[in-house]
Symmetry: C2
Subunit: 458 residues, 2 copies
């Protein structure tokens, strides 16, 4: 039996003999009875086992160390007076594998830093069990939303790519030749320079022209040498793209997706979220419940500038108090707008073209683009997207203005010549979402095996 | 409206005015009426539009080229005497974007080779629309099976890794330093040698020790310089792993997963499969329906050797007729066993340890390992898996025998010291599955943007 099955059916199983294989979280000898706490990883709550000297396998059981694997057979007994709803009165304990004494995860508090050093083991702690279960469920909810609710087609865009237009030099090179004296890559596997992708969007756009509604969900890479709590070299992105759609369709899709996924988590991972709330962020469940039920407001970038200037005029101090058209909003500005001014998630639209990507649609004012970022209380920017430039000549010009050789992206630009009427999409950094819904403050703690500068373990 | 919505509701919509934006597949002027065939990518069947000179937008409409985008407004009319169930009698056609004349995908037969050269456009053809829709649905069915049917936890294992034990030199190097005069990688991003992963299994096993039931689903890489129809440098793998499970649990899980996914496709993509059957493989639907309903047989490797020898003794000729213990079965042998001998999918177990990986459990005979491959009619090996070696000393020995420095995988080997009682899992090459269910003969045709030696487009 699995622990989840036992918890799901414990009323039916009351006073019956059950059997389970699981790992020991603690093992404590009392005077007349002993106690073992077990978990097999299929459920957040542990299994309490009571055992006495007369049971089969007692000698092994009492010496079983933390993290050892045992098979327990016994009677499931309700315990209405205790925190847990039931316990197992063991009749037999079989020690299937004894862990060594030097097992690194002994029963005490461990720092996040220490646990990051043992990322092959930390998922055995309750906090990381909860985080990675939420991560798993959220990934599934995203697929379910796009496939079952919206009839989107999932596209696996390439990881190895020759597009290096977007990464601005922050790309990993992929090679098979250890010697690079030969710089033109003729001897290399692909006979040209190859990078790890920084985004699947451009390829996704091509497929949106075929399927109308597509989404990607895969790993992306940034060789940025920054050691912050928000940056990792390898992270997962969700990038939906919809043909014939504009910025307003985009806003609706962002909201629908986010609300769906968070609702799904509230329905399926309440145990995990409750535990994370107790460990990582008080008020977590209220925070995300509020978001699900919130009105989402829309402000233009220029409205945001005015609101920020008003705040300063009224005495509010930002770290950056120089508010001007062209300012790249900082997290402090973003959070002020959605937390203090609007008190709800806020879409900001129509950013200056100079601070946004070449592929975003230039508005009629010729100074802003049809970009939209979603700002969320507690975090700031969570999702960024845009309507895409659909005019071929404008796109070529924007390439050049952004220092990109249009030839390098001929296939992407050409899509505008082959029948192209609007396209809009967005990118959601999956880890940023998981940090938001779990309360984890460091991106290293929501990635099973995180990759950061000078750190490549496991 | 989307095309899928119209097809799902055409009876309800009969004689009503509808409106849709879509791409032109063909546009043909008749004497009194003209005909446009449209598709917006949300459905396999096309939309037939009839229009007359008196409609709004006629002048533009009649000049609209293939691949142009139009918005059609008109009355949905049932056409019981025609192949398609309904057509649209247009009252207005708006040409939203005219495609250029040189659009590469004109209405004629194109070779697969040509279409591979335009992988940013080929999903607009019906064959590739069908293939990539099936790919999308299959990916979703896999997530659904593991999450909803089996309570497995999805783990995103790392793409960039320092493990190079398994790849046997067929790995891509990931670097940020263009000059490699400095061979010890101290100046590189990770300050050590980094590769693209060849498998998420080892990391997955660590997480199976935490969650019991996990699966991975992500890209893997092989820098193998072979230009065959079955090899790509970048492909996706599904790698489930179950703690406390043995080879028989593994067999059951393989079968359950495969049957679930193929059934799901038969339920959700019958339009696509029917079209693919007409284009790529006659008998396709019967083939996969048979598999869903088949008994799956189990043979040991040694039984297979006997069956092959009997075949040879009875006059059958293989390309490789030297049958001996230690032979790595060829596709011809695999197909003979499941197609001619068993006439059903066949699990082959207990292969010689010399031809299998170091992590597979050594059986008591000390010459075979608890490996299991699933052979499927029409293709041969589809899935490979094993129970894992759980004895620490044996695993270290097997590392050494396989030319791996155990130090390089200390964390993986150490899992055996921290409480380890059985683990089993398998790897399914996602593209091999998609080839099997779509009838596509070349792996390049089931990957949106395929990567092969000297080919890195888009």
């Amino acid at each position: 039996m699995e622990l989840k099955y036992i918890y799901d059916n414990y009323k039916k199983l009351t006073d019956q003999k059950i059997s389970i294989i699981a790992r020991i979280r603690s093992n404590r000898q009392g005077k007349t009875v002993s106690f073992m706490v077990l978990n097999d990883g299929t459920y957040m709550d542990d299994l309490q086992v009571v055992y006495k000297p007369e049971i089969l396998g007692y000698e092994d059981a009492k010496q079983a160390r933390i993290s050892s694997i045992v098979e327990i057979t016994g009677i499931l007994t309700l315990t209405p007076s205790r925190p847990q709803p039931f316990e197992i009165q063991a009749s037999e304990i079989q020690l299937l594998d004894q862990a060594i004494e030097e097992y690194p995860l002994q029963k005490k508090e461990h720092s996040s830093e220490f646990l990051r050093e043992i990322s092959h083991l930390r998922a055995r702690t309750r906090t990381f069990q909860a985080i990675f279960k939420v991560r798993s469920t959220a990934a599934y909810a995203i697929h379910k939303f796009f496939q079952e609710e919206k009839n989107f087609t999932y596209v696996t865009t390439p990881i190895i790519t020759s597009n290096d237009a977007e990464g601005a030099g922050e790309e990993f090179i992929v090679t098979t030749t250890e010697s690079k004296l030969n710089k033109d890559y003729v001897d290399d596997f692909f006979a040209k320079k190859a990078n790890l992708t920084v985004s699947g969007q451009l390829n996704g756009e091509a497929f949106a022209q075929a399927f109308k509604n597509i989404y990607t969900f895969g790993p992306t890479f940034r060789a940025e040498n920054s050691n912050t709590s928000k940056h990792a070299a390898e992270f997962w992105m969700i990038e939906p793209e919809v043909a014939f759609a504009d910025i307003n369709d985009n806003i609706n899709l962002m909201k629908d997706m986010l609300v769906y996924v968070v609702k799904y988590l509230l329905e399926h991972n309440v145990k995990e979220l409750t535990f994370l709330e107790s460990q990582l962020e008080s008020g977590l469940i209220e925070k995300i419940t509020k978001m699900v039920n919130a009105d989402f407001k829309v402000n233009t970038y220029e409205e945001v500038l005015k609101l920020l200037q008003q705040a300063i005029d009224n005495g509010h101090k930002f770290e950056e108090n120089n508010i001007f058209f062209g300012l790249d909003l900082g997290t402090e500005h973003e959070r002020y707008i959605c937390e203090i001014v609007n008190k709800c998630p806020t879409f900001v639209t129509n950013y200056p073209k100079e601070i946004k990507s070449f592929y975003m649609k230039v508005n009629n004012d010729n100074k802003t683009v049809a970009a939209v970022d979603l700002l969320v209380p507690g975090i700031g920017e969570l999702i960024g997207g845009s309507e895409r430039e659909s005019n071929y000549e404008t796109l070529i010009l924007r390439c050049k203005e952004s220092g990109i050789n249009p030839e390098d992206l001929y296939w992407y630009n050409n899509l505008r010549q082959y029948g192209f009427y609007k396209s809009a999409g967005f990118g959601l950094g999956f880890e940023r979402l998981i940090m938001y819904v779990t309360g984890a403050a460091n991106i290293r703690d929501v990635i099973p095996f995180p990759r950061t500068p000078k750190t490549l373990l496991y």
